[in-house]
Structures are given as structure tokens and as C-alpha cells.
Amino acid sequence: MTDATAPAAAPAPRPGHTAGSLLTLDKRTRARNAAEARFRLYGAIAVGIALVALVWLLISIMSGGLSAFRQTMITMPVYLPAEELDEAGNRNPAEMSRVTTLGYARVLDQALIALMAEQGIAIEGLSEDDASDIISQEAAAQLRNRVLANPDLVGTTVESEVLTNGRIDGYFKGRVTMASAELDSNVTPEQLRLADALRANGVLEKRINWAFLTMPDASDQRPEAAGLGVAILGSLYMMLVVLVLSVPIGVAASIYLEEFAPKNRFTDLIEVNIANLAAVPSIVFGILGLAIFINFAGLPQSAPVVGGLVLTLMTIPTIIIATRAALKAVPPSIRDAALGVGASKMQSVFHHVLPLAMPGILTGTIIGLAQALGETAPLLLIGMVAFVRNYPSAPPEGIFDPASALPVQVYNWTQRGDPAFVERASGAIIVLLVFLILMNAVAIILRRRFERRW
């Protein structure tokens, strides 16, 4: 019909298809390549911004907090006069304990004065009282504990590492300057000059500060003595509670829901609710914990057991979601294979599906635990923000003793007036980050270990 006319007209070029050389890019290809290049650029920019933010965060925390791991101390001989510390003369700690820290403070003061005299340090305009004020109030308490633990020290001269107060420490960490000391009622330029002289003589120096990790919190006036001991123990106990409760409950619940439960409206509803629970703000769990565990069940406030229970509630949805995803990712052919040789449902799950899902389950679990470790808000509500000086005893009883927690300690320290606590808070953040990195490392190692089983 139209065949006769068609060959005469040149075939219309098909859109997007040019007869040109392969060596020159056509318009469409150029546009596509440009779009791809743009997309890559956006990606690189996003990653770049994230990296810069991360590095910035790390630098600011490190620069502010690393100094908390070193503390300015005076190393000096301290004579422990028997007539002041043990009037009865029988070295009985019970009677010696009547001497308060004030008595030990005087002993330290005398030791410092003697040291200055011996080294020929004289600072113009510095009274003896002011000079001895560079020693931390905590130092007397530490010396008292040491003597009461070992009464035979009385009457001898002991070599002691004596904490200096927060301002002197701050002077060597750049927080305090001669100019700021002029305006500061807590420290005078003369005291700083004394510190300089002691440092020049090698008796005052910054030393590694294990006490930051082991000692309990200290009062507002003694930032130099504040440590994370109780907070680390509290966090550890809470993690124990969370681990012991949330992992079995979460994993068992997911296995049941994923592999055994009938698929109906009711289980759909449960599924939706678990997903919603994972998105509930943590402070709501805190209120729930306060109402149920403390007000209703009568568990003690500030106790790791309550914190652990609240964090368990928070962690279970995370674990369930991760575990179900890991179970879903196991190819159904493995289940068929197991059922096909006559394994029961349970055998197919526990012999084949679960081992294959293990890496995913572990990763999810550890991410959940890491989240719980850093959680602050719910702990504030159940009283974990209290000032706790006593270490909780060993678990299991210890989980009922009052304790603090790492993130709450950070929050707590940032609320205090003395700028020395900013350093402490940054130091605590570093400790928290180290724990998180360790947990992630464990997750990676476990995952590798399990994945190696093909």
C-alpha cells in the first residue's frame, strides 16, 4: 500500500539514537554522565562534611578532656607527728579516727612550709596560710585514710603525693593565668608564683591521674579530686542488667515472632507496636520506670538495677528489630533444606537459621547496648543523678546500691560552676567514647568470628 512511497523518504532518525561516531559523545550520554558526576560530587561533599564534623568533635573533646588524665601533684616528705594524730599513743585506728581531716590538713601545711624552708623558697607577700592553701582539701582526707589504714606510719615521715587545688592545677593546664588570678578570690598570683618555684625545683609536676578513673565524684569545691569510679561501676552494672535481660528476651521474642507465630492481625499489631516502641523518646521510658519500678515495685532510687531495667525496656525493641531483620535475611532455602530432611521447626531454626543470623543479631545487640550505655534522660528521672561517694558493692547485691552512670556524670559535671569541671566532663566523655569504641570493636570481632563459618 504505502510501501511504494516509503523508501523514497529518508528514515526519520530515532530519538536518542544518532548515527554518529562512537568516539564523540551524543547529547544524551553527556547529560547522563554529568548527572552521575553531580551525584558523586554530592556524595563526596556529604561524606566530607560528616568527616569534618567528626574530626572537629574529636579534637574539641580531646583538647578539652585529655588533660583530665593528668593531675598536678606535689611530691614531698610528710612528717606524721604522733602527738597530734594519736594522742593515746596506742595506734588504735578507732581512737585515731577522732582526729578529723582538719588535723591532717595542718600536718600537710607544716610539711609544705618545711619543704619551702628547706628549698629556700620565699615568695614576697605570701603568708603561710595562703601558701598552704595551694594544697587540695581532698589531700588531707586521702592522707587520713592512708594513716588509718596503716597506723604504724604515725611518728614517721612518709613520702606523699599531695593533690594541689583545682586553680593551681588549672594554672598548669592553661585555665588560670596571672591576670585571672588577680580577679579570682580563690587564688592569688603569689600562690601561682609559689607553684612555679616548686615546679622549678621538681617537686610539683603533672602526673598520670589514675584517680580520675577509680575515685568517686567529689564536691563542687574539689574538682581536682573528682573521679569516675562510681559512674563506671554503675554503668557497668547497668550494662550487666541490660545484657542479662534484654538479649535473651529480645532474641527469643524475635525468633518466636519471626519463625513460629502465626501471621495474623494480632501479630501484625505487635509488630507495629515494637517498631513504635523503638521510636519512643527515652525520657518516656524514664517516667515509666519511675512509675513502675520505683513507685509501684518499690525498688531503690539511684540503683543500677532500676537503670538497667529501664534501659532494658529501651533496648529490647532495638534488639528485636535487628534480630528479626537478621532472621529474615537467612535464605528460605536453608529452612526448606532442613525441613526436607525431616528436621523439626525448632531444629531448623536452632541448627541452621540462628547460626546464620548470628552476626546480624550480635551487631544489633551491641548497637542496642551501646545506645543504652550513652543514655542519660531516663536515668535522671530515676534518681541516678544523685551525688554518690560510696562504691556499690560487688554484684549481684551491688546492683541495688546507689551509683551514678557515665553519661549522667558528664551531665552532672557540666552543670557545676567551677571551670575545672568542664575538663572533667570532657575527660568523662572520652572514657564513654572509649567504652563505645571497645563495644563496637567487640561487635566487629564477633561478627568476623561467626561469619568465618561460611
Partner: protein, 265 residues
């Protein structure tokens, strides 16, 4: 002596191993298998052929109750194994599947060692009393699956590291290890190359000495090569069932004829 065995086999061959009557399968509202009656003979290879989606796999999976794992599947009718209704309430599908083994379309070895793959069935069914006995079963099963020579030096290596054809033979060895009476195979060669296919076909031919084998296949040549009896399914109906030779040379139903001559596909 030899004669005796031959006679015995002849008698066995006429035994009905599985008798299906009036089987209906529904996936939710859709009716996937309609009114299927079939007698599967012992020590015989039975092939199920038919176009894609006609319900071959569905029916095969009824024979060892693998459809139980599909929530929406509903089965009606009667399937008797040696005269016992396998859908009776008292039947535990786990016990049934030890008797009616299955090999799947895609090779699906466990991500465990070759040895553990084969030993798994005997272990969970407590078929062996000692390690030595288990070793023996593993070796015998691998030999039956014509795999022993290739893997005997690496039994502790992962089964997933074998080639596709070897994996499928491993799956056959795994199914054979529990000494089933019936072996169901759902397109066992569809993921294999021609050489591996030939090996598996040869294997099926040997297996029929001990088992009743039911094989679903896409390839009519394969059905013709390995089976003695053939069932042709179409749109959920069993259209024709009989001697393989007769089905291929002289089908009685026009639908069968158009399928084997390539007009329905």
C-alpha cells in the same frame, strides 16, 4: 539367586507406594490443584511434566507436607503412603519427611562441611549409634550420589564451596542418607549444566532400585530419559498419567499432545 531378586523386584514394581485421591490445593482463594488422582509406584521413576505454573511443585510438595510451611496453603483430599493417610491428625510431618525425602530446584547445601551436610539427617533421626556407623552412612550416601570420589579428601570443607552440580549431588546424598522410601525432586537439574545434568540423571536411574523417585521436570527429553511413568499437569489438573512411552508416543488427550509437540509451553 539373581533370578530370585529379579522376581522380587517385579513384584515390588507393581506396588503402589503413594495413592492420591481427589487432592485439592488452595493458595488462599486460588485453586492451584484440582481433583488430582494419582498412584505412584514403588521402585519407579515418575515424572511430572507440564507448563510453568501448572501446579507440579505444589502437588509434589503435598507428598511430604512441605506445603504445611506455607500459611495460606490448604489441602483437601487423601494422600496415602503405604495405605496410611499422611494428612491424618496423628501424623507428624517431621516423621513423614524422614520417609519422603526431598531435593530442591536450587542446590541448597547447609553452610556446613560436606560431612555435616550428609550426617545431619541421620543425626537428628538417631539412625546411627556410633561415629563409625555415621561415617559409614555418610560414605555410602555420597557413593550413591556419585560424589564420593570427588569429595572424599575434603569432607571437612564447606559444602557451599562445591560446584553447582556437585552441590546438587550433595543435596541428593543428604536426602538419601536418612534412607527415605520416596525421593521427591523438584526440577533438580534446572540449575545445572548438561554434564552435571547427565550425572544426576544417571544417578536417578540407579536410585530407583532402592527408592520410589518422583521428579518434576521442565524438559520432556529428561522425562523420557529417566522416567517409567509420566504425569502431565495442565492448569492444576492432572490431564494424563501413564507409561512414559505411551504418553510421549501416543497421548490420549489433545492437550498432552499439543504440549509435547511444543504448542503449549
Amino acid at each position: 539367586m539373581n533370578d530370585m531378586r529379579l522376581v522380587e523386584r517385579d513384584v515390588d514394581a507393581t506396588d503402589i507406594k503413594i495413592k492420591a485421591r481427589n487432592v485439592q490445593v488452595y493458595y488462599g482463594a486460588s485453586h492451584a490443584i484440582k481433583d488430582v488422582d494419582v498412584d505412584i509406584l514403588d521402585k519407579t521413576v515418575t515424572a511430572f511434566i507440564g507448563p510453568s505454573g501448572c501446579g507440579k511443585s505444589t502437588f509434589l510438595r503435598c507428598l511430604n507436607r512441605m506445603n504445611d510451611t506455607i500459611d495460606i496453603a490448604r489441602i483437601e483430599g487423601q494422600i496415602l503412603l503405604d495405605g496410611e493417610d499422611i494428612y491424618d491428625k496423628r501424623v507428624d510431618p517431621v516423621q513423614l519427611r524422614a520417609k519422603v525425602g526431598m531435593v530442591f530446584q536450587k542446590p541448597n547445601p547447609f553452610p556446613k562441611s560436606i560431612y555435616d551436610n550428609v550426617a545431619y539427617g541421620p543425626k537428628i533421626h538417631g539412625l546411627t549409634r556410633s561415629k563409625a556407623e555415621l561415617d559409614e552412612v555418610v560414605e555410602k550416601s555420597l557413593r550413591r550420589a556419585a560424589l564420593w570420589g570427588e569429595v572424599k579428601d575434603r569432607l571437612d570443607k564447606p559444602g557451599t564451596g562445591l560446584s553447582g552440580g556437585q552441590q546438587q549431588r550433595l543435596c541428593i546424598a543428604r536426602a538419601v542418607a536418612t534412607s527415605p522410601e520416596v525421593l521427591l525432586m523438584d526440577e533438580p537439574c534446572s540449575a545445572l549444566d548438561p554434564i552435571a545434568t547427565a550425572q544426576v540423571e544417571e544417578l536417578i536411574d540407579e536410585l530407583k532400585q532402592n527408592f520410589s523417585v518422583v521428579i518434576v521436570t521442565h524438559s520432556m527429553q529428561q522425562a523420557a530419559r529417566v522416567s517409567q511413568r509420566t504425569a502431565f499437569f495442565h492448569l492444576g489438573n492432572l490431564v494424563e498419567y501413564g507409561e512414559t512411552g505411551q504418553i510421549f508416543t501416543n497421548p490420549s488427550d489433545p492437550r498432552t499432545e499439543s504440549y509435547i509437540t511444543g504448542r503449549i509451553g
